[in-house]
Symmetry: C2
Subunit: 325 residues, 2 copies
Amino acid sequence: MQYDNIVIALDGNGGDQGSSQLPQAIKFAIKKINAPVHFLIYGSKILEYELKNLGILKSYYTIIECNKNIPQDATIKEALNSYQNSSMYLCIQALKNKQCNAVLSSGGTGPLVAISRHILGCLYNQRPALCAIMPNSTQGFALMLDLGANASCKAQDLYSFALLGSCYYKALKPQVQRPSIALLNVGTENKKGNNVIKEAKNLIINDSNLNYQGFVEANKMLTSCFNVIVSDGFSGNIALKSAEGVVGFLKNQNKLKRFFLYLAKPSWLDAGQYNGSVLLGVDGVVVKSHASSQSKAIASAIVNTYRLCKNEIYNNFKQELKLNI
Amino acid sequence: MQYDNIVIALDGNGGDQGSSQLPQAIKFAIKKINAPVHFLIYGSKILEYELKNLGILKSYYTIIECNKNIPQDATIKEALNSYQNSSMYLCIQALKNKQCNAVLSSGGTGPLVAISRHILGCLYNQRPALCAIMPNSTQGFALMLDLGANASCKAQDLYSFALLGSCYYKALKPQVQRPSIALLNVGTENKKGNNVIKEAKNLIINDSNLNYQGFVEANKMLTSCFNVIVSDGFSGNIALKSAEGVVGFLKNQNKLKRFFLYLAKPSWLDAGQYNGSVLLGVDGVVVKSHASSQSKAIASAIVNTYRLCKNEIYNNFKQELKLNI
């Protein structure tokens, strides 16, 4: 793909807040990116008025009017057949047609995964997974996947995630030749866990390209020394939301307690700045923002998406994957 | 069962710290209980010396020497066949023989569940689950189960957990006639989740004794209005540990940050005081303390176990279950 500028398609309808947080998010993001960028916004025409009011130059965006949204829990069949004129579908179609470098959506995970897989296809028949950069006290960050693209997983899927995560880590940090991989489990002892975990462990160990290091428990997600944490999409989603829930709860107390939390919490432990999980394994950069994100968190997701494209990270990941298949 | 005093059997070998935290825990617990209680301690003879050194009267305990411990990840077969002289096995045997009212162990969940099921049996063929009292900002507490007794679960198991949890809630809070039940899921929309969740939902809805209210996401565990949160043992364990991990991480910072956390955190959000998950569904009071518990958390588990027996809560739960089967 060759573009003069980075172009990001934005799903202007997805998410709990619809488009209400988007104009401010775009303003924050443009300031942070501080370089040429263009947004293809699939959403309500009213956004134009709001963007203008915020002083955002017309050269930064194109609005393609589209008011159709996909319900969060639409089935795969519904998403693919009844919502071809939805903003999410049109975004992914634009990516396929090379009208943009990446897509960012706060819409439902199920529909986003289904449409992306259908239109963009899967890389080397791997099972796509939502992958997030998790803050980590010992090594800056760790990758965690799957965070919800697959509600139920087989051992082979977990093996796919290990491969995708390892290659993505190398694309992000080329100096790490063999990223360490751990499986999220209910204990660290060798025989712990269910059959899917045990079988996945064997598949990963038997692949000499992968650097399997053991199990990790959910209470060590922020402090472990592993580069890649692999889980099924169901418990990965629950692990992430549970951690966020505690921080979110503490943040929703009265002003004084919030202030003490601000003093107690290291600055890197702020979920918002890591917003934007990459749908690793589809043939194109698709990023999922939290459905409940406010403007600052959406802005972070936009900036993170921009960096992925600008630094050719996803292309490097694809190259890496090709070498490891 | 009729006892003059409450008698609690303690597994003196289980847990990451072995017996090192136990004497101090017993001292804290005796002070807190402030009523006649007796401990049957299955563990090292050295404990006697330590208990004496702490000034604990001999009338509070009987030590049965036993130095055999079961590895955390022993298989069911191993636990049942090769560790009949372990402290955990002997504790459960004592409960079966009515030598005590309850058992408390910090040992491995797998062995504890296997031995308890084998020796004590399951109530009305229900699938036992580890159930914890979770602090909750809106209603004081919620029950959560399963927290790890079952590494993989079928829909029928989740239905069992809903029934057990509902009856246990009524035993704890008799004024609540129809405890509200929610299933832990990756989203709240009707079609979210995997097939096990969807099938379990239908089983629970179809039981008119149960008050099913919907799905709950892991970020709402501390703030939801549901009385009972049901999950499979794998993701329930991960949800709990993930939340604990965040609090634990914040608590492990430098002194100043810890102080600010102390000011930021409501006093009820302290995992230690809720230590002790009940193995709901076996025929006897078996309580599991965190493997990594320090003395204060073990003391809380002892006190919680004492209250279960003293207030006849487990017997009331069994009565309730009988009415609802």
